[in-house]
């Protein structure tokens, strides 16, 4: 019995004869993979509408589970190898999820303050009152904007509290 060290702890390691699977198991796995392939094609034929992608992915995951578990011996292998494999899938998941968080949420936080939903709860910035708009369309555009006059003080009034309202209330 060769003396040796595994992960720093002294242990007698037997001549590691690997778990050898009978040929029948291989054939069974192969058979089920074939069935699942046919199933994949059938799934794509049937009109499942929006569910077709998840179902196709599910079938692919089952097939890959067979290949990984039996053909790649992960089922009978040291647990650290499975940890490496599924750890990688976790990081791929992070990559996909956070990228799609960005792609799918563009513009959702716009007008957070203006439509008051956020501002009201925290009273941080007072949403400016919609100043009555006389100016519509292009033709009036070249006269000075009528509301310019009273807009200034309104803004100043509004701007000032907003600024102070800002700092202390956090």
């Amino acid at each position: 019995m060769a003396k040796g060290y595994i992960r720093g702890r002294e242990a007698d390691i037997h001549e590691s004869h690997h778990h050898v699977m009978p040929i029948a198991t291989y054939m069974k796995v192969f058979g089920s993979l074939m069935v699942l392939t046919v199933l994949t094609v059938l799934v794509s034929e049937a009109d499942l509408g929006s569910a077709s992608l998840p179902v196709a992915m599910l079938v692919a995951v089952i097939k890959s589970a067979f290949v990984i578990g039996f053909f790649m011996h992960l089922k009978y292998d040291t647990r650290f190898h499975s940890f490496v494999f599924f750890g990688t899938l976790l990081f791929i998941g992070i990559f996909f999820m956070l990228t799609f968080v960005d792609i799918n949420t563009r513009g959702t936080l716009d007008n957070l303050h203006a439509n008051g939903r956020y501002a009201v709860d925290h009273g941080l910035t007072v949403r400016p009152e919609p100043v009555p708009h006389e100016h519509t369309g292009h033709e009036e555009v070249n006269q000075p904007i009528p509301h310019e006059g009273e807009a200034a003080p309104a803004h100043e009034g509004e701007a000032a509290p907003a600024a102070e309202g800002e700092a202390p209330s956090h």
Partner: protein
């Protein structure tokens, strides 16, 4: 105006001296409402960091000196860890960091809040110059060529104490619209509108820089924003003021383009929204359209997309029809003018705001 004399920028600095006049040690002058918010968070983090830095360095220097090796086999302390201290110096930073995050997030969203009375600004960045146009005022500030260096600089004007919304897009590569005195910055991405809203407060002239590397003259893509008080702004708006006069004076600049590019051939502009070949455009802005890519609100992005790349979202019922693509045939100015014309059809005043279509499917 900012005349550039022969030996470079030295003179130009005189024209813009006050950008730095009452600046704090770290930040340029506070010339917008956002500036005070950003500076208050900046100072909070600054003094927090200085405090911790001084404490840590004092400890380091004191330990290094007090426990220096006085004799060759000087005995040292056996302490290996101390749960109490280690817990404290993990928890306290975590709490402080969450506070900084919350404060930063809150002020960040202020940039995307668009009050209804905001002045709309359409800024187009292209390789090495900014073009700023005012859709509501039919004015367009185009870059002036500097005779000596051949680079372009743009000056545009804003009223003090009125929020303005910038709608940024780019003709070629990424650029970034940065006004340090306002503490605002946003990238100009081709084929898409990005933007923010801020209120300039202190009249004066401030720098505009391009912050995203965009090639040879990235450092000379400069500009100046002049914030005017009430009566200067009125003077700017008056008919006889020559600054940023739109070269195509006709107010129906958009209408002429509409005819020029043969849009009228397929799209009606009459109130009854008659279908010629394509859908009628009367009252389209703001309306919800069901298209091949699901229900979409017809905002600026949708209008722009449909003009330049029609096949992306075809209105349901018009699948067979193929609208030719105007990709590369229309400049940003022309697209902007066409969109304003379509919006002006029913007197639908400009809803402003950075228009990204919040898809609701």
């Amino acid at each position: 105006m900012m005349g550039l004399s022969s030996h470079w920028l030295a003179d130009a600095a005189a024209g813009l001296a006050n950008d730095m006049s009452d600046a704090s040690f770290w930040m340029p002058t506070q010339a917008s409402d956002q500036a005070s918010r950003v500076d208050s968070l900046f100072d909070f983090i600054l003094w927090l960091s200085v405090f911790f830095f001084v404490v840590l360095m004092a400890a380091t220097v004191r330990f290094a000196w007090k426990y220096r090796q006085k004799s060759p086999n000087q005995r040292t302390s056996p302490v290996k860890h101390n749960f109490k201290i280690e817990f404290l110096w993990s928890a306290v930073p975590t709490v402080l960091l969450v506070v900084i995050f919350a404060w930063g997030f809150n002020d960040f969203t202020a940039l995307s809040a668009t009050p209804s009375n905001a002045l709309n600004l359409r800024v187009v960045a292209k390789q090495w110059a900014w073009t700023v146009s005012y859709p509501q005022l039919d004015r367009e500030c185009t870059p002036t060529i500097d005779p000596v260096s051949g680079t372009q600089a743009t000056t545009f004007y804003l009223p003090a104490n009125q929020p303005f919304t910038v709608q940024l897009s780019s003709d070629d590569v990424l650029h970034s619209f940065w006004i340090p005195a306002f503490r605002v910055k946003k990238d100009a991405v081709p084929n898409r509108y990005t933007g923010f809203t801020v209120t300039p407060t202190v009249p004066g002239s401030y720098h505009l820089f391009c912050a995203e590397y965009c090639g040879t003259n990235h450092s000379r893509m400069e500009g100046t924003v002049e914030v005017l008080n009430a009566e200067d702004w009125a003077k700017f708006l008056s008919k006889e003021d020559e600054r940023c006069k739109l070269d195509l004076k006709a107010p129906n600049y958009g209408e002429k383009l509409f005819a020029k590019y043969g849009c009228a051939g397929c799209h009606s502009v009459t109130e009854d929204r008659a279908t010629v070949v394509g859908p009628g455009l009367y009252g389209l802005p703001g309306r919800e359209e069901s298209t091949s890519a699901g229900k979409v609100v017809a905002d600026d992005d949708y209008l722009r997309e449909s003009i330049v790349y029609a096949s992306k979202k075809i209105v349901s019922g018009f699948e067979g029809k193929q609208m030719p693509s105007f990709e590369g045939r229309l400049s940003e100015q022309e697209i902007g003018a066409l969109i304003d014309y379509i919006k002006g059809l029913d007197g639908h005043e400009n809803d402003g705001g950075p228009t990204n279509d919040d898809k609701n499917e």
